[in-house]
């Protein structure tokens, strides 16, 4: 598998080379981080979308506040037979034919409409976002930590350790991402892992975090293979530093821009995969909301109640797109020559 250099595995080993074009007005000796920050600050589009993503995060974290103090309903509280007053008229929340009410644009009652069980779409949107973002964050953390351990160990020790680890990565890599997610999701949804039930939110996070490991570990390994030949590593070895120390405090800092660039990339893909798995029914399990399973629910009532597809869908796209655009800007700023990418 390692015979062609797959896109995304090649790295510029000499990071400083990428910073030569940083602009002539800079004092000599300006550090790469400062240069990166300066470049990012100039990229207004990336900053704007970074801000959009922050707003989404804050809104989703405020889900309980909205649900308790403004909408006064919980995300799983159905109300099939209830009525509300909209613009002076009394209307059914869910019509007799099973069609939920559309957006009322009144923050205190079904601001974005209801779903087929009479649950408040806006409340579920925020709670669903919280679940999606939490799963994305945990999955990303898991991917990054495991991929760094595997990638650094394989690249640093080479030999047998590298052979074994690289083959394992190849095998995970050979599975189509979605099918691997589905396989793990199905197995765990039926049986759970040990004491953890299949309906636990951590399950999709584990599944997704696992699936993306090779996409980070392989490029990290490649970079470590080059780093370990550099003089400062030799110097560290001569000083008698332990392997762990060299890997942690000599090699790791040199990977920091790679790590930073990968985080938004994995996060965006993790959120997309979570949505896909939940849509198929092997991610977040109902009644827990997630943007993915809300869309799946909404599909049962199009065209009558399209808002139940549109609302979570737009939020999902906006969140993922903001991360992607911000991540793209971050990559341009920190590591203009590196080709960090991920396959879908």
């Amino acid at each position: 598998m390692a015979t062609t250099s797959a896109p995304g595995t090649e790295f510029s080993d000499d990071l400083s080379a990428g910073f030569v074009d940083a602009g002539g007005d800079l004092a000599p000796g300006t550090g790469p981080w400062k240069l990166g920050w300066r470049r990012l600050r100039r990229n207004k589009v990336a900053l704007f979308f970074g801000g959009v993503f922050l707003v989404i995060v804050v809104l989703c974290l405020l889900a309980p506040v909205y649900s308790q103090d403004i909408a006064h309903v919980s995300p799983s509280l159905g109300n099939i037979t209830g009525t509300i007053r909209v613009g002076g008229k009394t209307e059914n929340i869910v019509s007799l034919t099973g069609i939920p009410i559309g957006p009322t644009w009144d923050p205190s009652h079904y601001f974005l409409g209801a779903d087929t069980l009479g649950r408040d779409t806006a409340v579920r949107l925020l709670y669903g976002g919280r679940n999606s973002l939490e799963i994305g964050a945990v999955a990303t953390l898991l991917t990054m930590v495991l991929a760094l351990i595997v990638g650094i160990a394989a690249g640093y020790f080479r030999g047998i350790a590298d052979g074994v680890l690289s083959r394992i990565l190849d095998i995970i890599w050979a599975y189509p991402v979605l099918l691997l997610g589905i396989t793990l999701g199905t197995v765990i949804a039926v049986g759970g892992i040990g004491p953890i039930k299949g309906s636990n939110l951590l399950v999709p996070a584990f599944v997704i975090g696992f699936v993306y490991i090779p996409y980070v570990a392989k490029p990290v390994r490649g970079q470590v293979l080059q780093l370990r030949e550099r003089e400062f590593i030799d110097a560290a070895r001569q000083q008698g530093l332990s392997h762990a120390r060299i890997m942690f405090s000599e090699i790791m800092p040199n990977l920091s821009s790679t790590i930073l660039v990968f985080i938004p990339l994995i996060l965006a893909n993790a959120i997309l995969l979570e949505a896909a798995l939940s849509y198929l029914g092997v991610g977040v399990e109902p009644p827990n909301p997630s943007w993915g399973n809300m869309i799946a629910d909404g599909l049962t009532t199009i065209p009558e109640a399209f808002h139940n597809v549109l609302v979570p869908g737009l939020m999902l796209v906006l969140a993922v797109m903001s991360i992607n655009i911000f991540g793209d800007g971050l990559r341009d700023a920190l590591d203009p020559r590196a080709k960090v990418r991920i396959a879908h």
Binding site: D170, L179, T183, V190, I295, P303, L310, I325, K339
Partner: protein, 316 residues
């Protein structure tokens, strides 16, 4: 060269073996999943359960069960436990639909990404590039099931231009076949277009700085000639290789989301429906066949490259 091919094929077989073992063990490891209980139904007696265990070989050691499963999968004799259908027959019915989707979408996404990627690269930093960047960023952020739902709603229900889903065989009515597939092709392509055009853009920008491109310019070729004969020819290598793998995945059921939202009843939807029923055997078979397909195609691509590009052969 022979050495390279042999090594590559051996590695392929090893990966295939490990994948089949792992996938089998994963599904086998499901607790409370003794399939004999499920097959026998709620009221079964111990004797009946035992009979089923013997009939399907659930009482045999795990490696015998593995061999038996693989034999069933590759001789087309695997049956769904819950639905009773022959999985291979179902895959065969689904395959024409999945192929129609994959071939059409594959052509669209390859051509459009080449166009977008090249355009963005030669206009790098200008308006066209910025617009295309935003478009591809939007593309990679659009989940097919959401895009599909939006298109069905606006172009199907509202505007009545396209059907709401489903599939019409090419041999039955070519026009309807096309009409039913336009939205699915588009939906499936968008994600890949976003991704590929970004990859192509940066590969072209890298290639442009190579010495041989400067040489080509220096010997007086026009920009267009350099672009097509030198830059693109080299930059397309990673794109084509990605394309081969993604295409294999789509045929192997990777278009599961697009298929299910458009109700195409292809291989992907068979997988999606089986997941909904937690019906293990079809999922097992599809996952194994699909990953085999991808692994074999990856090996073929590597070998073809080695023929075309001696550097790879030597490195391998």
């Amino acid at each position: 060269m022979t050495r390279f091919i042999v090594r590559r094929l051996l590695a392929m077989l090893l990966v295939m073996f490990v994948i089949s073992v792992i996938t089998f063990l994963l599904f086998e490891a499901i607790p409370n999943g003794n399939p004999a209980f499920r097959l026998a139904g709620r009221t079964a007696t111990t004797a009946e359960i035992h009979q089923i265990e013997v009939k399907y070989g659930f009482n045999k050691p795990i490696y015998i069960q593995y061999l038996r499963s693989m034999k069933n999968i590759f001789t087309g004799k695997a049956y769904s436990y819950t639905q009773g259908f022959n999985v291979w027959d179902e895959i065969k019915t689904g395959l024409p639909k999945t192929l129609s989707l994959a071939v059409g979408a594959g052509i669209i996404w390859l051509l459009v990404s080449i166009l977008f990627g090249t355009l963005a690269a030669i206009r790098a930093g200008k308006h066209t590039d910025r617009v295309l960047t935003v478009v591809s960023m939007l593309g990679v952020s659009l989940p097919p099931f959401f895009l599909g739902a939006v298109l069905i709603y606006f172009l199907g229900y509202k505007a009545n231009i396209f059907p709401l889903g489903g599939y019409v065989p090419l041999t039955q009515n070519p026009v309807q076949w096309l009409v039913h597939l336009i939205l699915p092709w588009f939906t499936l392509s968008v994600l890949f277009i976003g991704f590929y055009s970004r990859v192509l853009r940066s590969t072209i920008l890298d290639t442009i700085n190579e010495d041989y491109i400067r040489t080509a310019h220096a010997k007086g070729l026009t920009d267009r000639q350099v672009l097509i004969r030198h830059t693109l020819r080299n930059s397309l290598i990673p794109i084509i290789s990605l394309w081969g793998l993604d295409f294999a995945q789509v045929i192997g059921g990777g278009a599961i989301l697009t298929e299910s939202v458009y109700n195409l009843h292809g291989v992907g939807q068979l997988a999606a429906d089986s997941i909904g029923r937690l019906d293990i055997i079809p999922i097992l078979e599809i996952v194994i066949l699909a990953s085999f397909f991808v692994v074999v195609l990856a090996a073929v691509i590597d070998i073809v490259y080695a023929f075309l590009d001696p550097r790879i052969r030597l490195a391998g």
